[in-house]
């Protein structure tokens, strides 16, 4: 093997409208090495990837693969040179099948124009098998779950002969078990002599998978260190620049850093022991049933009680009714069963009614549900309450009142830039989520029930900490808070108890100190550890991939 790095970026500068998103970064990854790239949102990670794979043309600097310079702005050349990217938002064509997606652009042909289906299917299946990636080559992409789609993306790159694989935030959408499987896949690829660039916010994962870690901050490379010579604490400082003590503890608790001590968590849990001071539950759900998006039953008799002043985490493998439960609670989905808020029924019949009753929602997909991206910050802040003071005065918008309230919220939640006239779509993901949190949690009367779905998905450390703080503040003000997340560490950091869903029902409840293994069993619908049928964790594997 030659001494040349598998992929090398030299002095890359990329500007957008005069602003440097990446400013003079040099990076390299050797064959058989896993390089992790960490940094906050907007630190320039995505831009680096786009430059590396030829999607963007760098303003300065060059990209070399295995010693040879790549022509800038030519994705085809990057692919030919063996550089493959798995994007955070998958680049898959939904109505096409798995094999069609894999071979697209490099189709094996017969007679020069006709796609050789049999050969394509066979080769795709072989590529998948070689690295133990299970995929059904004939399935349509849109019928697959997120984990399977990601495997297709990896197979796609491997089939194309990628020797350098760039994974952009690969675990952001995965359940803990899928994330573990991915880690194994990545290590297997490295063992095979391939290089992997692994981009993540989650320092714990990074430390588990990487040989070296490169830290980007504001478009500049802060440091590159070997895995053995760094710690989560040190990395976090590098990522954020400076670390406030409280923020670091928060980050640790959120699993963004490995926990050194769990004392804080236990303390927090003790402080908000359920039921102690709140006699009647705020929210009571009895035998909730509802249908999912394709008419399949999604909730099958779910029962739940949540008290004011507590944060309850809802865990479960994606697709076990969490999304539907959040929609039922916020009036977005029809249901059967009893749903009481402070003893009253009927509030969840429509989104408007739920809002009027004091239910607020931090939805899973903030672009689709929470924000109107072309509108500005203050307009977005007033949505949902646009007809009420201080946002309106009778039938007219109260511009002065709205501006005053918007400035107040923007500063309280540290939305950057703190400009009420900035377009919501121009904010980074973290600031968009802060905007949503500001509107939902503090835009009007204090909420009675907060439903937060994946509230920090894709956010950087600082923004995630802000959102968590906001949820805690809402709890301290007396709201009942439900957090649905695929990230167990996030639930541990926030919740005083974790309720586990499986197949549309509650299978159990655990304290936040419960182990991954114990929670994992509940998430797979199995009884807690110690019972005879739970032999070893590997036995759960076949069930990990649940139908969507």
């Amino acid at each position: 093997m030659s001494a040349a790095p598998a992929l090398e970026l030299r002095g890359i500068v990329k500007r957008f409208a005069g602003v440097a998103a990446v400013d003079g970064v040099s990076l390299s990854v050797n064959p058989g090495e896993v390089l992790a790239l960490v940094g906050e949102n907007g630190a320039g990670k995505s831009t680096m990837i786009s430059v590396a794979c030829g999607l963007y043309r760098a303003d300065e600097g060059e990209v070399r693969a295995f010693g040879a310079a790549l022509p800038p702005g030519d994705p085809r050349a990057a692919i030919e040179a063996g550089v493959g990217v798995v994007y955070q938002h998958f680049m898959l064509v939904g109505p096409l099948t798995v094999w069609e997606n894999v071979v697209l652009g490099r189709e094996p042909l017969r007679f020069g124009i006709v796609v050789d289906r049999e050969r394509a299917r066979r080769e795709v299946a072989e590529a998948a098998q070689r690295f133990g990636l299970t995929v059904d080559v004939d399935a349509r992409i849109e019928s697959l779950g997120v984990g399977a789609q990601q495997r297709v993306e990896i197979v796609k790159q491997l089939w194309r002969g990628a020797r350098v694989l760039i994974l952009d935030e690969p675990t952001a959408v995965l359940s803990p078990r899928e994330a573990d499987e991915l880690t194994q896949t990545v290590r297997a690829l490295a063992k095979d002599g391939r290089s992997v660039v692994f981009i993540s916010h989650k320092l714990r994962e990074v430390l588990a998978v990487a040989d070296r870690v490169a830290v980007l901050r504001r478009g500049k490379l802060v440091q590159t260190v070997a895995r053995a010579q760094t710690s989560a604490q040190q990395l976090a400082e590098a990522v954020m620049g400076t670390v406030l003590p409280a923020l670091a503890r928060e980050a640790t608790a959120a699993g963004l850093l490995p926990a050194q001590e769990s004392l804080d968590l236990e303390e927090a849990a003790a402080k908000t022991a359920p039921g102690a001071t709140y006699p009647a539950p705020r929210l009571v759900a009895r035998d909730l049933c509802c249908e999912g998006s394709r008419g399949r039953p999604a909730l099958r008799g779910l029962s739940l009680a949540i008290f004011a002043g507590e944060i309850v985490g809802l865990a479960g493998v994606d697709g076990n009714g969490q999304s539907e439960l959040a929609e039922v609670l916020t009036g977005l989905r029809a249901f059967q069963g009893t749903l009481e808020l402070d003893g009253r029924e009927g509030w969840a019949r429509s989104p408007g009614a739920a809002r009027a009753a004091g239910v607020v929602h931090l939805p899973e997909d903030r672009h689709r549900r929470a924000l109107c991206l072309p509108l500005n910050v203050e307009e977005n802040l007033s949505l949902g309450r646009q007809g009420d003071p201080p946002y309106a005065h009778g039938a007219l918008i109260d511009r002065a009142g709205r501006r005053k309230k918007a400035l107040e919220l923007v500063h309280a939640f540290d939305v950057r830039p703190p400009d009420p006239l900035a377009r919501a779509g121009s904010l980074s993901g973290g600031n968009q989520q802060k905007l949503v949190a500001a509107r939902e949690l503090a835009g009007g009367a204090p909420p009675l029930l907060v439903v937060a779905v994946q509230p920090t998905r894709g956010l950087d450390l600082g923004a995630a900490a802000k959102v968590h703080d906001a949820l805690r503040t809402a709890r301290d003000a007396g709201a009942a808070v439900i957090v649905l997340s695929l990230d167990l560490d996030e639930l541990r950091a926030l919740a005083s108890r974790i309720v586990v869903l499986y197949d549309g029902r509650v299978t159990g409840e655990a304290p936040p100190t419960a182990s991954d293994d114990a929670l994992g069993r509940l998430m797979l619908g199995q009884p807690p550890a110690g019972t005879p049928m739970a032999s070893k964790p590997a036995g759960m594997q076949p069930r990990a991939e649940l139908p969507e």
Binding site: C53, L55, Y56, P75, R76, I79, V85, Y87, F90, M91, L92, V93, G94, P95, L96, E100, N101, V103, L104, G105, R106, E107, L109, I113, V114, V115, K156, R160
Partner: protein, 289 residues
């Protein structure tokens, strides 16, 4: 039946043009205008050269040239595809009317054109071509690499781009092909059916072709079936209006509206549950997200 086959080619070819363009992700409201260009230049070409076949070629080229403008505006300058298409229709209306006056000194019809040769069943070659075209297009879409790429580009151009597919080039080819098909369809009206160019051509057939695209779920065979169905309704309407005579002429409007009304009904009832290609009508921005 014969009447259906005779009247089908223009609609069928234009509908296939619509399918080709929209599957690649470019909405083509301009089919009507492209047909008009095709109809006129096919007639003009036949008259000048004396050969109806060269006339058809002129028609296809004129349609493609009009489509070239659409492609340039939509792909290069990322203009709104609907607006560009409507503009094209309006330009076709005015420009062709002017050219008819300028070339042939008439505001109504062109001189008669040499007719296409007919076989012993009384059909011209365009009929057979238009019946084979959907099968060919279907094969291209389902079996060739070119077709796979078209489908990918119409659904998720960024995904295709990351795999090295040249999105804009592919879309341009499809739009030009779409224009050629629509132009040929227009040629079928003037050279194929009427034997002269009429200033009212194509009289809404381009829009009917669009309806056929939707009705046919954006597939070549579906759109062809829909186009044949419309052609049948059209033929029926002609038969009926012949037999109705002057007293019942008021009813003619009802029959004219029949195909459209049926389309609306079918769409409203959800019988053809349809989904447009995901990226249909959305300009592709290479460095966008």
């Amino acid at each position: 039946m014969n009447a259906i086959l005779d009247f089908a080619p223009p609609l069928l070819l234009a509908a296939l043009g619509g399918v080709l363009s929209e599957r690649a992700g470019v909405v083509n409201i301009g089919l009507e205008g492209m047909m008009r260009f095709g109809a006129f230049f096919a007639a003009a070409g036949s008259i000048w050269t004396g050969s109806p076949l060269i006339g058809l070629l002129c028609g296809a080229l004129a349609g493609a040239a009009a489509a070239g403008v659409h492609a340039l505006l939509c792909l290069r300058y990322r203009a709104d595809q609907v607006v560009s298409g409507i503009a094209l229709n309006l330009v076709a209306l005015g420009l062709i009317t002017f050219l008819l006056e300028a070339f042939f000194g008439s505001s109504g019809v062109s001189p008669p054109v040499p007719a296409l040769p007919r076989d012993r069943f009384g059909h011209n070659g365009l009929v057979y071509f238009s019946l084979a075209a959907p099968l060919v297009l279907h094969f291209i879409f389902s079996r060739t690499a070119f077709g796979l790429r078209i489908r990918a580009v119409g659904e998720h151009p960024h995904a295709a781009a990351t795999l090295g597919v040249r999105v804009l080039r592919l879309r341009a080819i499809c739009v030009l092909g779409s224009g050629a098909l629509a132009g040929l369809g227009g040629a079928g009206l003037s050279v194929g059916i009427l034997g002269q160019f009429d200033s009212r051509m194509p009289a809404g057939q381009g829009f009917m072709a669009l309806a056929a695209v939707v009705f046919g779920k954006w597939t070549p065979l579906g759109a062809a079936g829909a186009a044949l169905f419309f052609a049948a309704a059209d033929a029926l309407q002609r038969q009926l209006s012949f037999s109705l005579h002057a007293a019942d002429m008021r009813l003619e409007g009802v029959f004219l509206a029949l195909p459209y009304a049926l389309t609306l009904l079918v769409l409203a009832l959800g019988l053809g549950r349809t989904r447009a290609p995901a990226a249909d009508g959305i300009p592709y921005e290479p460095e966008g997200r």
